[in-house]
């Protein structure tokens, strides 16, 4: 299972990459494997302000639906429109091309975040 060291993780199986005040959020390799083939992703609107644990989108797999939660406070600045036509990017490349949403104006509270090592232990 792929769990890159440079990212933060949540117990809901999202990953977060914080770079220059922008947080990029996606779901982990473990999560995509559990969900199975992703067929649709629904996002909240650009410009929405979200608090910790708010739903920022929904992932539909063939037989299930999962909400995506944000582990930090911020404003939605970008959504990954490539997923509209290729939702399976989440399965094929969860940490890169399969990113889901970007937040700016973030305030980081690391108490909600796990390191790669902690997450590895969490899913084992």
């Amino acid at each position: 299972m792929n769990i890159p060291d440079k990212l933060f993780y949540t117990k809901d199986h999202e990953w977060v990459n914080i770079d220059n005040g922008i947080a990029t959020i996606g779901i982990t390799d473990y999560a995509q494997d559990e969900l199975g083939d992703v067929i649709f992703v629904e996002f909240i609107e650009i410009g929405s302000i979200c608090n910790v644990s708010d739903t920022i989108g929904t992932i539909e797999a063939v037989k299930t639906v999962a909400d995506i939660f944000t582990p930090l406070k911020g404003t939605v600045s970008k959504i990954n429109r490539d997923l509209d036509n290729n939702p399976d990017l989440i399965n094929r490349d969860p940490y890169d091309a399969g990113w889901i949403i970007k937040l700016d104006s973030i305030s980081i509270d690391k108490s909600n975040l796990l390191s790669a090592n902690d997450y590895r232990r969490f899913v084992q």
Binding site: I39, T58, K63, T64, V65
Partner: protein, 439 residues
């Protein structure tokens, strides 16, 4: 499943397990204001023979052999015998809902064909496998509109049938929504009313043919909504779509209707068949079951329930609707009816209705004391205004076995007549004579 009747010994045993002496102790926790204190008023038990006699006496009170000129949503259309014959096959008639859906390929195939035919008829992209009836379908359309927009006003035309509005209001009673009626002008929706509400508008409901039988203009309604995000919900009798410009062509976002007119008996008012079809972009919001066609691992055609992630067993409280059933048997009958009548038969039926209704309206309005209330832009139903007392007039007609609809409580001095292809010229002429002879 076995039917296990309750006897005194069994009841005692059950009560002792619950540690109470009698049944009323068991339900003592329910506040008395919610309980029926006296008996249900259905009398003492009867023997099988007595029950049969009592029910026969009740059924003898039905007006038998009457000729129905009543419409407003339920119509006395002709049903080819083949519809009964095929739908009564035990594979269809006795089958319960297929929980393991993909094992029941036959059921899925006819539902897929039903959906495809409804799409073709309505000009919409996606139809579900049906809902309870036209009224609940309309209510579901409102839920859909509200789930898409964050606006809270739904406008409905005063010319939408009352029974649809009543059910819709019941369904929406727990929702944050303002339901506002659009007034009518000479029997037709006054579209100029829309402009004042455009800002907070989630959807507009227009029925065509409307409750008076008049043809409304869905296309103009949609044009009025051009600069708003509001959806147009087009409601109407599916059989009329065989000749009218379809909701899809008119730009409607959602079509709902009642499929009773497609090969289903009047059933004393129900069960009916709820039809719902939407534009492709709403496919993840449409309630109910959707059947899709695919290929199996050998490349053979197969049918599946699809997009189930919309439904409540997966999406839980976030589902648009908690509907997960459909009117399968009635949808099957509609499918057989549409397949039998085909692309030439359905317009022909509607043309016959139109010609006969126009003939009836023309002849009745020639009679002294009777006029056509609205114009002649109707398909198979129209309103007549009379100088006579409508209540006693309709009673007089019923006594002579002609049923017409008394609507004087909503429009004074008026009654309504629907003419289907089943009505012969002789029957229509007799009704005219009956109206003529009434004094």
């Amino acid at each position: 499943m076995h039917y296990i009747p309750l006897n005194t010994i069994g009841e005692k045993e059950l009560l002792s397990v619950c540690e109470v002496d009698n049944f009323s102790d068991l339900i003592s926790i329910i506040p008395s204001k919610f309980k029926v204190n006296s008996s249900l008023g259905i009398g003492p038990p009867l023997s099988e023979m007595d029950i049969e006699r009592a029910l026969e006496a009740l059924s003898d009170e039905n007006i038998d052999g009457s000729i129905s000129f009543i419409g407003r949503g339920i119509y006395d259309h002709f049903i080819p015998k083949a519809v009964d014959f095929i739908s009564n096959r035990s594979e269809f008639y006795t089958a319960y809902t297929p929980y393991q859906a993909e094992v029941s390929q036959g059921t899925l195939q006819y539902l897929y064909e039903y959906q495809s035919m409804i799409c073709e008829l309505s000009g919409m992209d996606i139809a579900n496998a049906s809902l309870y009836d036209g009224a609940s379908a309309l209510a579901e359309a409102c839920f859909l509109a509200l789930s898409i927009s964050n606006k809270s006003t739904i406008l409905y035309s005063a010319t939408v049938c009352e029974h649809l509005i009543k059910v819709m209001k019941t369904y929406l009673s727990g929702q944050k929504v303002d339901l506002v009626e659009i007034p009518e002008k000479n029997g037709i929706t006054d579209l100029s009313f829309l402009e004042t509400y455009l800002d907070d508008l989630s959807a507009v409901i227009i029925q065509s043919p409307n409750k008076y039988g008049l043809i409304e203009n869905w296309e103009n309604s949609k044009n009025k909504l051009m600069h708003s995000e509001a959806l147009l919900i087009a409601s109407g009798d599916p059989l009329s779509l065989a000749v009218l410009k379809s909701p899809g062509e008119c730009g409607a976002d959602i079509y709902t209707g009642d499929g009773q007119s497609l090969g289903n008996p009047m059933n004393y008012g129900g069960p009916l068949l709820g039809i719902m079809a939407v534009k492709e972009q709403y496919k993840r919001r449409i309630p109910g079951r959707l059947v899709g066609k695919t290929v199996d691992c050998y490349g053979k055609d197969g049918f599946v329930l699809t997009l189930q992630t919309r439904e409540q067993h997966i999406r839980k409280e976030k589902a648009t609707s908690n509907i997960c059933t459909n009117q399968s048997l009635l949808a099957l009958r509609a499918t057989i009816y549409m397949a039998l009548m085909g692309k030439s038969g359905m317009p022909y039926v509607t043309q016959l209705c139109y010609q006969k209704a126009q003939y009836a309206a023309e002849e009745i309005s020639k009679l002294p004391g009777y006029t056509l209330k609205h114009g002649n832009h109707f398909l198979k139903e129209f309103v007549i205004k009379t100088k006579y007392n409508v209540e006693s007039l309709t009673r007089y007609c019923a006594d002579r076995q002609f049923l017409v609809l008394d609507i004087h409580d909503t429009i004074s001095n008026c009654f309504q007549i629907a003419v289907t292809e089943k009505r012969t010229k002789e029957q229509i002429d007799k009704l005219i004579t009956c109206l003529k002879e009434y004094k």
